[in-house]
Subunit: 392 residues, 2 copies
């Protein structure tokens, strides 16, 4: 697999960090998840469980090993040091400075393993005026500008339901780690990678930010209407709504043909996107008058056949019942040796030669304590002592 | 930089593909953007311009070279073949099969450059029942489940304003390419990487998907309220709203103390998250009664001091005026030799040793034709012929 032979020490918990290390694990890295001896990652107790196992935890932590380690204990720190000496990557999502206080700041890490790639997924970055603030997805959605543009034109600023700032910051962290590994393969040097929840979502403001940079004008909430393109959005079919997204004149003219609206081609009020944008009500009315006469299924078929993107708004059940989602294996079943079948989200990155697979089921808390410590040379007796002393 | 010495041939346009290659370029790869001889990437003409240059295009295409190439012309194909022979990576966001028809399917690519990493950012994946459908961000938002959970509880399914499925698919593509490069450094083998707009957003459904897998129950839209945690959301200050996100009991008890609501600690109706979730109106009312007595600024200060995530909903102007956003340099100015200063989004991945920088301003269409073709050994006379023949 892509990351065969790469060992990752994973100090992360909850969401952003575990999402980062999930990608590394899915692509074949050996990820050793380090959890507190008593409760472990709080996500183990969140979300709905199947067969006694949280599927939320399962989805973010498949393919990882789990060991417990008390990092406040000197022996726990010693074991972490020994593990780091064998590692290629270490990831944490503590607040900035916590690793330093624990004795594992960047300099210490470099002493332990000169070419180590380290990564910190943060709320606001490694320093700056908000460095000591705690963060959480909702706050990043509020402070990134995302909420200000998401929602109905006449409604309130609206968060996205999934924790997208956590997820994007985690995905960017995986990307940064891989880039640092590419550099290491050339230079034999490690590096520290940092991402931040707020920056990550801000980086996705795309034209909403750049148009503001160009004009100084604030973007407004436009609901399901596109801020730049028209027609575009949800239209009425006889049995529900259908999403249609012609993105330029060529698509627009094709749409007119499919709908039998060719007489609008020369309509001066609708001649280009700017005019159609100003006359959105008019063009949407013309389209709805036609689309209302047939079913969703009809329009999805004929509009896509004409080369224009068209689909339906699917709920979560419809998504996972959909033949394309199933073809892409975006829901996969892990056969867990102790918890039976567990369903989790599939792999969004597809590789031709060595596809992502489930090579380890999501771990029970500390299930790999003996195996990992034995690899470091600890005797069974010593391991039992560490357990008795609540070090592991 | 991380990707020094990596050469990327970039056949992408619009958004998802250019976002992928932007990351590679920002991390130091040499990205040669190939555009049609006459109009180039349509994004050049979209979004608001500054000094005659689209900042939308500038943000997604900084750090890239641009050459024009007519890929329908045999000579254009020959030049692409010669370029690919010098490349490490090739990226396209054509529909599946287009590269094959052009003579650049995976097998052909491997013949040209045995260890080439190739990547296709698609709408629905490389094959399957929807393989021939066109796609577009809005359709992916509709078909991923995202819209079904985004929005007001009593409102319509709602798209996100930024084109997030394009952006996530592009970021995943960059991640997959980097993983394939890590593998290549070990095995000397190339690979084909594919991502899809719909899969990418589906992969971010997190607990909304896994809870459905566990229970068979559909998630519902909850607006700004969290589907699992309470209290959580926007609360009333004397001069506006403030976002507060205590994520567990420990944070909740701290919040009660900060607000002078310690008497609620033992309230049996609010004893745990499940009860507070059921009695959201009660706990939100108690909190609002206190938060209404002071300003946003007051609460952001004291609540963060207590270690509880808290912030304000910022519009795009406030985001880029914010001292932390400025500290993180999430808006950067590129001094373009021909177009003057151009403002674009900053780099969301920070590296300690070799940070992302602007090493090339966003390119004018075909500005690097002579330089790139000269590097391939073409004479100035031959280049002028190619131009006269509309090959470049």
């Amino acid at each position: 697999m892509q990351l065969e032979g790469i060992r990752v020490i994973d100090l992360t918990r909850i969401l952003s960090g575990p999402f980062c290390t999930m990608f590394l694990a899915d692509m074949g890295a050996e990820v050793i998840k380090i959890e507190g001896p008593n409760d472990g990652d709080p996500i183990r107790k969140q979300g709905d469980a199947k067969n006694g196992f949280s599927l939320y935890f399962a989805s973010f932590n498949r393919n990882k090993r789990s060991i417990t380690l008390n990092l406040r204990d000197p022996e726990g720190k010693q074991i972490l040091t020994e593990l780091l000496a064998t590692a290629d990557v270490v990831v944490n999502n503590y607040r900035p400075g916590v690793m330093d206080k624990m004795g594992f700041g960047r300099e210490a890490l470099t002493r332990i393993k000169p070419d180590l790639v380290s990564c910190n997924v943060t709320g606001f970055g490694l320093n700056g005026p908000y460095v000591d603030r705690p963060s959480f997805d909702f706050i990043a959605q509020a402070m990134s500008g995302f909420m200000s543009v998401n929602g109905e034109p006449d409604g309130a600023p609206m968060r996205a339901a999934p924790p997208i700032s956590d997820l994007i910051a985690g995905a960017y962290a995986a990307m940064g780690i891989l880039a640092a590994l590419v550099r290491r393969s050339r230079t034999a040097k490690g590096e520290e990678v940092t991402t931040a929840l707020t920056d990550s979502l801000t980086s996705m403001m795309a034209f909403l930010a750049t148009n503001y940079f160009a004009t100084g004008k604030l973007p407004v909430r436009t609901g399901n209407d596109h801020a730049l393109a028209s027609p575009y959005g949800l239209f009425e079919a006889s049995n529900g709504q259908v999403a249609i997204a012609p993105s330029n004149d060529s698509f627009y003219f094709k749409l007119l043909s499919v709908l039998g609206l060719d007489h609008l081609r020369d309509c001066p009020e609708l001649a280009d996107n700017t005019l159609r944008f100003a006359n959105r009500k008019r063009i949407n009315g013309e389209i709805n008058a036609v689309t209302r006469t047939q079913t969703i299924e009809h329009w999805i078929h004929v509009i896509n056949e004409a080369g224009i993107p068209c689909g339906r708004v699917m709920n979560i059940q419809e998504v996972f019942d959909d033949p394309q989602t199933q073809h892409q294996q975006m829901r996969i079943t892990i056969d867990h040796p102790r918890h039976g079948p567990l369903d989790v989200l599939g792999f969004p990155i597809k590789f031709s030669d060595e596809p992502c697979i489930v090579h380890r089921p999501p771990p029970d808390l500390g299930q790999d304590n003996e195996a990992v410590l034995s690899e470091l040379g600890y005797s069974l007796e010593r391991i039992q002592q560490l357990k008795a002393n609540n070090v592991i």
